[in-house]
Amino acid sequence: MRTVAATATGIHHRSYTSELRLRATRSEYFRLALLAVVLLVVPFALGNYWLSIVNTIFIAVIGAVGLNILVGYTGQISLGQGGFLAVGAYSSAILSDRIGVPVPLSILFAVALTAVVGTFFGLPGLRLKGLYLAIATLASQQIIEFIIRRDYGGVLTQGKGYINVDRLEFLGFKIGARAVFEQQWYWILMPLAVLVVLAARNIFRTGLGRSFMAVRDQDIAAEAIGVNLTRAKLTAFAVSSGFVGLAGALTAHYSEVVTWEKFTLEVSILYLAMIIVGGLGSVAGAVYGAVFMTLLPVLIRNVANAVEGSVPFLADQLPAIQNAAFGAIIIAFLIFEPRGLDRIWQRMKDYIRFWPFRY
């Protein structure tokens, strides 16, 4: 799905290493430096409220990148995102708070467990494709939701229906009170999100990543050239779910409470929307989509509140309008730019690069 964007003139690759480089031009390095500066300045420039939204975005980025590995790169559609987030959140919360495992270890375990659960629910993917697989993953969502919602015997929540997670603490460091809470979390979530993005970018420079894309583009041809379909599909489910489990575990520790209502089918659909709007089969697209879909309702609410005096209807019907905008934007993207924000960004860059010529 990703087309090769026009690169600047004068760039010639003379070795495979050179061709594999993530960045080839000076402007690409410049943008990277700019991004780094922005990421370093943000926690000092923004207030706590906006920082909390930025932190939510980082978690969404991790989850969306994970989902895009499965849906965008391997072509295995999944409606089970909410359930897999729940596996990560519940397992890390229970391990750290009830059993006393240090948080970094509990998160690692949550990642591993979610990968295992994801692989298990990925098994139908060996036989099913397209819509049928979507329904099969929908089943995984429903099963996991059923388990966490009913919680028979109180194994998960000890009969309370929710788990309160202690404030994050490891190696003697404890996240502080509200005044510094968001900033300290920023320094945890931002590096993790960056790491996840880097890891995902690099997966697709390996043979494994290429086998994912081969499965997506034409599975029979992939098998004919020696890709082990079973292995590729199941690994894709495992890797993707691992990332999603990380996002789930971070949600648990960041929001400090785990309830089933955070992991419903709606969440699965929201994440799918993120990667559709951002751009299927693109790590950067998953990032743009996560940023966009998290900011959208917030911005709509700010606009609605700002114009409440003149247009009270907007503020009165806010949730409905947010939902409507959500749907309208997905439709608009599907019609006007199915390859999402990532492709729009590419086109903008090309436009500037070739100006005043069209191409």
Partner: protein, 405 residues
């Protein structure tokens, strides 16, 4: 090529600046109750309301009752001359939205939060404890009354568990000591909340009551299937822990199937909505356990509501039990805030909690359980008493008031 790079860089820088400046702006507050400048800064309280979501039909009046209380309070001098500023936003019964609103309110510097449903109350109980913000809501689940688990949650009304205990006591008496009871409940933590406690109560009291719980699946056209199971059990009484629309459907199904069963509705289906949805005839004779005193039953607390209604030209039918619940809950919070201000400490969430725990009985004019609300450092169970009503002629007619388990 160089120029193009620079153009790209400038565009990127401009875009970044735009984003940053947009983010730097103050987050706006939602619709506000009156917040003027009479003798001191207004006291901000955040309200997380469901106006358009799944429970909007009762959440809307609840929110309106809260805002009405604040308006009435401010018109009568506020709290020690300071006005209460209620910031209310709709979260449409979606937990992530509630969390986002909560972050906004914390940023706005509120000293207390009024929530709504079980989902948002549970999702925020950890945060309010860490941020030291007292939190009241219309979720009356038992675990929230334990300050060890939820130190900043206050439950103003008897819990669902206490309500089912009252219901079982009443059934035991009404049936003459032996009957089968079917408990139909919403399939969620909210619905499950009192089920096990009810079973334990039957055993503890040694009642000769058969007790069987049935989760109510959502999206059903009717509940005939569940009722046939209840009939097979031999149930004469059906306790419902759910909201009014499905409960009204059960009432209709009982009527249509010609079954001899009496519904005992707890809290969220024990309201005018249940009667109007089921229809006067169908609802007739069913029993409602409702801790909030409806307007039709006179209590001293209703006087100020009537004053307000007269001022606004409102009709009695505009003021449902949920509306009164919002009014009364805000009353409890306001009295806690007043007490905290009296003590002379700085007004913070922690000082309000301290005040609520130490101030003894809080007089809400009998609007909650026909008596006072009282918290302590050991228990945030504000009240254990409730009213029992029967649907008669389309009205909630009181059978017993101030009943405790």
């Amino acid at each position: 090529m160089f120029r193009k790079t620079r153009a790209a860089a400038i565009a990127a820088a401009a875009a970044t600046a735009l984003v940053l400046s947009a983010c730097g702006g103050d987050s706006d507050t939602g619709s506000t109750g009156d917040g003027g400048e009479a003798g001191g800064d207004p006291i901000p309280v955040g309200i997380i309301a469901d106006l358009t979501g799944a429970t909007g039909d009762v959440g809307g009046p609840y929110n309106a009752g809260m805002l009405a209380y604040v308006e009435h309070l401010n018109a009568n001098g506020g709290i020690n001359g300071r006005e209460l500023k209620a910031i209310s936003n709709d979260y449409a019964y979606e937990v992530p939205r509630a969390e986002e609103l909560y972050n906004q309110y914390v940023n706005d510097g509120v000293v207390a939060i009024q929530g709504w449903g079980t989902g948002d109350t549970e999702a925020l109980s950890g945060s309010v404890a860490n941020d030291e913000l007292p939190f009241m809501s219309a979720s009356y689940a038992e675990p929230l009354t334990d300050p060890e688990d939820a130190p900043y949650n206050f439950v103003v009304a008897p819990t669902y568990s206490d309500q089912i205990r009252v219901a079982l006591n009443w059934i035991n008496e009404d049936s003459g000591g032996s009957a089968e009871v079917a408990v139909l409940h919403h399939d969620s933590p909210f619905g499950n909340a009192p089920v096990a406690d009810g079973q334990a109560w039957v055993e503890e009291k040694g009642y000769d009551l058969g007790y069987k719980a049935y989760p109510m699946p959502g999206g059903q056209p009717n509940y005939v299937g569940l009722l046939s199971q209840a009939q097979a059990q031999g149930a004469k009484y059906v306790i419902i822990q759910n909201v009014a629309p499905p409960a009204a459907q059960v009432a209709k199904d009982i009527q249509a199937q010609g079954l001899d069963m009496t519904i005992v509705c707890l809290n969220w289906c024990a309201n005018e909505l249940f009667i109007s949805l089921a229809g006067e005839d169908v609802a007739e004779g069913h029993v409602l356990i409702q801790p909030i005193t409806p307007m039709i039953t006179e209590q001293p607390g209703h006087e100020s509501i009537r004053e307000y209604m007269e001022e606004k030209g409102m009709d009695e039918s505009d003021v449902s039990v949920s509306w009164v619940a919002g009014w009364a809950t805000m009353d409890v919070m306001a009295q806690g805030i007043a007490k905290a201000l009296e003590s002379g400490d700085e007004l913070t969430g922690a000082s309000i909690r301290e005040a609520l725990e130490s101030m003894g009985p809080i007089d809400v004019g009998g609007l909650i359980g026909g008596g006072d609300v009282e918290f302590s450092a050991e228990s945030h169970r504000g009240s254990a008493s409730t009213g029992i009503y029967r649907a008669e002629g389309g009205q909630m007619v009181e059978i017993q008031g101030g009943v405790t388990p």
